[in-house]
Symmetry: C2
Subunit: 420 residues, 2 copies
């Protein structure tokens, strides 16, 4: 293939390390100037492509690009914007091709989760149909760890490290105060459909009695009676009880527990916040003093406590994406392949997008203990390698020194606008 | 004074670095074995003294003691237990002296906030009255930063660093998603009576437009109309709005905003959680998509992101406490003295406990901007030195490697029990 420009976009909820993948895509593309001309990024993800709002990454210094490796969030903007079904809205896909063609783009790198893998696949198919060749490579990313084929999803390991660290620290705090103060502490973590992040909290408990004592997974229907009995027993035995809970905790009828309790001043169900609902329940039924925390975005933005393994994998999939594209591999995704647990060894493999798109990897039932309140050794064995190593960002003025790119726009070439 | 044993206890809400003070007290006492015999710690703070439940710190290895420097929480247990008024419950104080006498304790080190400074002072007075000499030295600690005389309170700098770091990181996340997702993010921090922690969030905004955009202090009565106008203007100007709010935010009538909004399923006011109340308000009145986080104990336990300055000061006050005691200085507290802002230089001075006990240092009004929604340069100048430097704990298995002491009990010598 002749020298072509490339397009890169970030998609969906960002992570602490998605920019490490961006860094790798840009740096690797720059190493291949003979094959890849300009690397353009979409402002606010795929919306940037649809509206021809492209960013010229060549305007960023090597130093700024390198700093992406330690900067959380999405440097070019990301979007929760799912392209509609191909049959229903072919114009969207044709518009993408039109913009790519106008800017001589021959490579499409899409950095996201399951939805974006699907989009990436569709663009590759359309490009074949329309006779405008684009090599489409998906770069995996999601804190939810639900991408199939790949052993883990880049972005997850850092959330896992944050959650395990934070609940351990809170556990030390509560343990020292429990006699006269808080007995029950509840930390709510993200992951509406799968309990990977909740499971990661469990890593903090390395010996019997250590926090967290109870985990509440979205995969296990919430049983109020069993839960209260478990909390009471834990407080009696250890003096306190630390709980990690998924925001997506549901009761047996499939209702989110977060929506069953609280009403705001207007009588509307309060969205978000299963932790305060459980705290109220504990107080009401067991009388224990409680505290609760909702980590929310703090967990997926916590670049300061990122997993070195996760940063390296995020960089590796970005680099591999460019290399695969240069090999002409189309409609594929670099995947993490686990070669051994102890010592942990991994390599980069290749997944076909047709095997990735719209497939959600669930947490195996045997990763959750029989009583449903903790993780198993098997789960621990899977998770532990993913949080290994620290990769602290540089600090300036006592705070992490993150980069803001210049994000210089590329002059538009099309006469037409496109409504999104 | 002849060789005497010493007693050390932790009091009130723990911090990420109170154990650094404990480490210093133990290490410094060990350097003076000619003057200080055994160093006993109170299990669960002053309760341990009242109930004669003492811990023999000499049973801990030098390595274990050194590890206290990087371990959050209270290693011997802390307590929210305020001794009653001297006149009302003289027996409590007499019991302390009785226990101290039984164990040949001549030094009393009390590590806490304003309440414990008061207790420390009372014990020193009683000891004089009862003719049993005990040198009483208070070791300052509180994440609330409300101790007088000392320039800052050990424990605060680390919370400040955590809050500034976390809200900056969340700001990077929200900025990249705002176009199609969350527009308003609210992070709730501790500090019911004073806005020091909220102010620390403000450090993250180094230039115009950077997060956080709005701070809500307990010192400034919450004005719903002004708040909503400020949020709307910020979203229009920057595309998103990041808010730091104190749990103690009050309206003009002095009601906690956290208690004005949510009711649980039983109709009871939901305790804690001003962030979800504000989020509901923003959604209801401005229609923006929101997310919120409540950091709660995570912030004061976050030893992994402790301020090096804070760790050093916490150690220094512990060391100075023992040295002051050996000089026979009674009813005093080592205090941080700021010698210059730029470069930041500090030393240890001595405060008289009568000047410390029950005095609360408020945040000066000129640390808050005229509109009440941010910090001033003067505040920044005060705060910035306190978060300087990193002091990462060692990691094992991908998580901070914190110590649990053996906490070997000392054999009781008294026949009498004491009900607390």
């Amino acid at each position: 293939m002749a020298r072509k420009n490339a397009f890169y976009a970030q998609s969906g909820g960002v992570t602490a390390v998605i920019n490490a993948s961006a860094c790798a895509v840009i740096e690797t593309a720059r190493e291949h100037r003979d094959r890849i001309g300009k690397l353009y990024a979409g402002r606010d993800g795929i919306i940037g492509a649809l509206t021809e709002d492209l960013i010229d990454t060549s305007k960023e210094s090597a130093r700024a690009v390198a700093a992406l490796r330690h900067t959380p969030g999405g440097a070019f903007g990301s979007a929760r914007y799912k392209l509609r079904k191909f049959e229903e809205h072919r114009a969207q896909y044709e518009r993408l091709i039109e913009v790519f063609q106008a800017h001589d783009i021959g490579y499409f790198f899409y950095n996201g989760g399951g939805d974006s893998a699907d989009t990436c696949l569709k663009v590759s198919r359309l490009s074949a149909q329309m006779g405008y060749p684009i090599v489409c490579v998906h770069v995996p990313k999601t804190m939810d760890n639900d991408l199939p084929v790949t052993d883990c999803s880049p972005g997850f390991g850092s959330v896992a490290k944050y959650c395990a660290t934070s609940i351990r620290e809170a556990g030390y705090d509560v343990a020292s105060m429990a006699r006269t103060s808080t007995r029950v502490f509840i930390m709510e973590v993200m992951g509406r459909h799968a309990g990977w992040t909740t499971a990661a909290c469990g890593l903090a408990a390395e010996s019997e009695g250590e926090a967290p004592h109870v985990l509440l997974f979205p995969e296990i229907a919430f049983d109020q009676t069993k839960f209260l009995a478990k909390v009471e027993q834990t407080v009696k035995q250890h003096g306190y009880c630390v709980i990690g809970v998924s925001e997506g905790l549901q009761d047996a009828a499939g209702r989110f527990v977060s929506e069953t309790g609280l009403r705001d001043a207007f009588g509307h169900a309060q969205l978000g916040g299963v932790a305060p609902v459980l705290a109220s329940l504990v107080k009401e039924r067991l009388g224990y003093k409680y505290h609760w925390a909702v980590a929310d975005y703090l967990q997926r933005a916590a670049r300061h406590i990122a997993s070195k393994t996760d940063v390296e994998q995020s960089y590796a999939v970005g680099k591999a994406a460019v290399e695969l594209a240069l090999q002409g591999r189309n409609a594929v995704m670099p995947a993490i392949v686990r070669k051994s647990d102890k010592p942990y060894r991994w390599s980069i493999g290749v997944a076909e997008l047709k095997d990735v798109a719209n497939v959600e990897k669930k947490m195996p039932r045997d990763y959750i203990s029989a009583d449903g309140f903790h993780i198993t050794d098997r789960c621990r064995q899977y998770l532990l390698p993913l949080i290994q190593g620290e990769d602290f960002p540089p600090f300036r003025n006592g705070m992490p020194d993150y980069i803001r790119l210049k994000n210089v726009p590329v002059a538009k070439k099309l006469e037409t606008a496109f409504a999104i």
